[in-house]
Symmetry: C3
Subunit: 452 residues, 3 copies
């Protein structure tokens, strides 16, 4: 068995181009903070430990690393200095150390795995992930001869021959755990910016007679995120991957460009999704479910054969059973709909449990909030809740019970009972005609008054 | 007059890459099952007969071919075998036979017409639609010399010279009706896959001294659909055509990429459509109609000058008259709104007829379902239905009648009458302050209890 | 100080390819009529005067030019004739005259500024904005030698050498105010179409020994709008600019391709916008606001830290305070929500003012319309309006008052009071079971009747 790797995630960058009070690596992508994607990706390599490097006071970033430790880089003195800050937390580690960036969430586990494997195979001191760039001008170039990474040349320092090289530095590096301390401590800041560059580790390792290599990945993976525009580009790239995987697994999307998935969305075969559907985190959808256009679903389980939308909103804590129908302008929140239950039109069901085959009429509101606390509404199987009813929680409507349309229900309704909570109709002949004349007059008078 | 053509539609493929229980050719595109597009396209050539070839037990596919006959290919022995299965149904037919694929819904009538015309003109035994491929590697190549299609070479069998050819086989073929029986029966399965290839008909016809030709179409047309990803690509291609045609006819789309049309959507000039509007099948929209963002419309007629949305949902069987307003969070189902009627906010109108100029208040629900049957609500002209009313069907509200806000209407309201179905307000001074203190206390106690 | 420029906006074109009853330059783009973008762009050059040239009877176009004058081109005799129509309104003007097209809303102030500056610097009689076209074939070519614009050759008149030129005429021209009268009057219509071409001014100026120049801009700017498809392309180009500017300023957009901005939308840093959000004109959003998916906002101010949507619609005249929550299926119209107020589910609030921290229950309707006039609803701070309530305006709910769920409120509720406007619940045991049997029977009978 090989020694497990350690991973250092550099996440101390200021991110000023984001123009945000939120630390850059916490900006969301596909429903997760950016850095969680990085942690998820490196996690697939089953590292022995993960260490975050964060800026002073970045408690929210430290929390995003938990349960992994996060060490603080005291001053922004460059990537070499940032990596050095992690050395203490790497004490005792012998295997390769993978150094990645918290703002590069698109780097795949597959590419990192290939880098680590190549480093192990060739016993390299330092390995670097590179990519062939369409436009290499902004990147450092990887100068490789005979399988050896000779050096990394910054774009501005490259000579004409080096400028023609299109193999570029991704920033992802794998360093021999036995050498990393010495290499990082040897990096100097004798350059224009007075920064310690992690890339100098290559030349230092070479100078000490060690092997250094480069492994190629795809350009798309190595796009860093430094602005809101790049955040949107990153989101698009992630969505493209998630959508392609879902379609390959047998999901129909009328227009994949308008389906937004979360990184953890689980969709079964023969799920069909209309245009304009957003999934927040924590959703699983069973097979045969049809989600029509304009839905927003988060933190919910949708059972086999359910029919959702259009214009449905399902909020966290909801459990939508098999063959359930949730129609337009319906909101569920922390609500369980048992098999075959229906809420087809304009309703709010919060903190509720609806029994099998029960029908919730249009305009029904589960009145779950009294201004201070939330309360539950429980409806038995085969119940019928009439339209425009208000169910004032805590309240129970029994199995096979009936709530008449327009009722306000404040007391429990027993099984098989019928509850009225509305006034009887009274009809006044000719009164509308009279009222209309009066209102017309009043409106005219108001108009007149306005003119003055 | 020329002999009419016959069309054979091959629809027996397994479609395993779709990962679906639904047969591939029934997957929807622009609101229609895929194969209906093929039938619609070939229908424009006014064929004398159409024959479907389906897999055993594919009753739903057979139903999609009706009233045309569908014959069963007993075992999946290749395209040549599939076409042969149709021979019985072609008995007596003399003219050209067009063989097309049920999973190629983008092939235009225009291209097929050109193929048939070229075959007739040159008295070809076999004609093939080809296309210049950007990347020809996955396709069979059409080897043409001096206007003669010499052969079709499968990609894997092509030599270096043939590999350089970018003129590729679309699969669409036109075969002389007098020769088709002999040609199909002569095809052998002496190949690696032990399949009968329809493409062998070209070599066989040539060997028998007949003329064989190729006609070029556009690559975009010939994309087959074998996976959900290709289904999405096909949908996009169809939508692009439908949107372009609508815009050319004088329809404004703020963002055409987010307007989803059905194959049969009819839009008049000076219709204006906001972003994110989905049309299901069976919609016609008269001139001057404005459909705002986020609407879902299916099976409905929208009259001249109507104002729809945003966030409106109009379901099948609805008839929206001239100058009608349907506003946000409003659902119509099988409902007729006469000229100038309005339902501007949060309402459900099902199985209803609303008279001219009548106003339906916010939150109104037509209570059309009692758990077993559906009933009608009929509202006369110039009526005023107050907000949050429930109209318990079957019920009629007369011309010029008035339903007060918050009423439950269970009995008919005569013309000009005013109906109340609500309780009188009772106000208790200071009671809210007292209640609030109590609720606050209760919420605190509940929190306390939870902690323990 | 330099003499200010004058601007002539040619807007008399028929626009027949739009197939519209609306004049072409009034078709909307990013929430504004097309010509307003042109006026906004030229306005940044702070011209001394702006003159519109319109078709006879185009009063709506004249109104769009107001307060600037619009002169009528009596007959459609070409661009030279159209510009000539503006001469009267230019009387007394000495500086450069910029001639632009009303259907070219993408031309940037920056490009026009460079044209004017170049003309002033080189004392040119005529300057033309040109662009390098990917496909120059549809455009007139600018023939430039030694920094001098020698002539503009129409595409169909170009010889082989000229056809190879990819520097094309944008139509935007800057003419010396002292010479414009003479030049325009000298243009002849001795050509196939019998039209007066403004482009002839170049040759005429050259013939008179004046200097003529060309200045380059970007092709994307010079796309004219002649059809609905081009209108959509123009919209996309404008949206791309607006979105990029918003993101650069610190706005997150999950999917910028599905955020539609108006030309005047003001978004602060750390505003976050989900997919599918449309902004109509007149919106400003303060920092920290989160706008979730599927919202439609127009003519409204959104205060710091507010939470909007998903599925919210905010209409003109609304003022949403700091930390306010507007949830799903909620419509605001001309409504003020004070700091911390909430309306989280299915509600219509029109012509209302909601006090600080007040909570509006699900399904609440402000009944603002009586069929003739609109009335106001005023709710004090810390009030609690129960679900499914109807507030019949004009009405006031006092500070700290409570409206019970399902109430119809027709009279003012004093501070701290509690208002009931609903019936007491009555429950009938076993009645639902009995009713169900009856309804079942009735539905069966109805089905039977239908069959006969």
């Amino acid at each position: 068995m090989t020694t497990p790797i350690a991973v250092v995630v550099l996440a101390a960058g200021a991110g000023t181009r984001m123009k945000s009070t939120l630390p850059k690596v916490l900006h969301p992508l596909a429903g997760w903070p950016m850095v969680r994607h990085v942690l998820d990706n490196v996690g697939r390599l089953r590292p022995g430990r993960i260490v975050g490097v964060i800026a002073p006071g970045a408690d929210a970033v430290a929390a995003a690393f938990a349960p992994h430790p996060a060490v603080v880089q005291k001053r922004p003195l460059g990537t070499g200095d940032a990596a050095k800050a992690a050395l203490g937390a790497l004490k005792g580690h012998r295997g390769p150390v993978l150094v990645v960036f918290g703002d590069a969430p698109l780097v795949t586990a597959e590419s990192m795995r290939r880098l680590v494997a190549a480093c192990r195979r060739s016993r390299a001191a330092v390995g670097v992930l590179g990519f062939k760039a369409r436009d290499p001008s902004p990147y450092g170039r990887l100068i490789v001869h005979g399988g050896v990474l000779e050096k990394i040349v910054e774009s501005k320092d490259a000579n004409a021959v080096e400028k023609a090289v299109d193999f570029c530095n991704s920033g992802v590096m794998c360093i021999d755990g036995a050498l990393i301390g010495g290499l990082l401590r040897a990096i100097r800041n004798n350059n224009a910016k007075r920064e310690f560059y992690l890339t100098d580790a290559v030349a230092l390792a070479r100078a000490a007679g060690h092997r250094t290599i480069a492994v190629e990945g795809d350009e798309e993976e190595f796009q860093g995120i430094n602005s809101r525009a790049e955040l949107a580009v990153g989101e698009r790239a992630l969505q493209r991957r998630l959508r392609a995987a879902a379609m390959a697994a047998g999901v129909t999307m009328t227009d994949p460009d308008t389906v937004w998935l979360a990184a953890d969305t689980r969709l079964s075969p023969d799920v069909s999704i209309g245009p304009c559907v957003r999934f927040g985190p924590g959703v699983s959808v069973a097979s045969g479910v049809q989600i029509k256009a304009f839905c927003d679903i988060e933190g919910a389980r949708i059972g086999r054969g359910a029919l959702i939308g259009p214009f449905a909103r399902i909020r966290p804590g909801s459990d939508v059973g098999e063959e359930v129908h949730i129609g337009n302008f319906v909101e569920l929140k922390a609500t369980r709909m048992a098999r075959g239950a229906k809420a087809n039109h304009l309703a709010y069901l919060g903190d509720s449990a609806i029994g099998q085959r029960s029908n919730i009429g249009a305009g029904t509101i589960a009145v779950n909030y009294d201004g201070y606390g939330k309360h539950r509404t429980v409806i038995g199987a085969d119940a019928f809740v009439g339209s425009n009813s208000s169910l004032v929680a805590p309240v129970r409507v029994g199995r096979g019970a009936n709530v008449t349309a327009g009722s306000v229900i404040t007391e429990d309704v027993p099984d098989g009972a019928m509850a009225f909570g509305r006034a009887r109709q009274v009809t006044k002949k000719g009164r509308a005609t009279a009222l209309r004349a009066k209102l017309k007059e009043r409106a005219a008078a108001a108009k007149q008054a306005k003119k003055k």
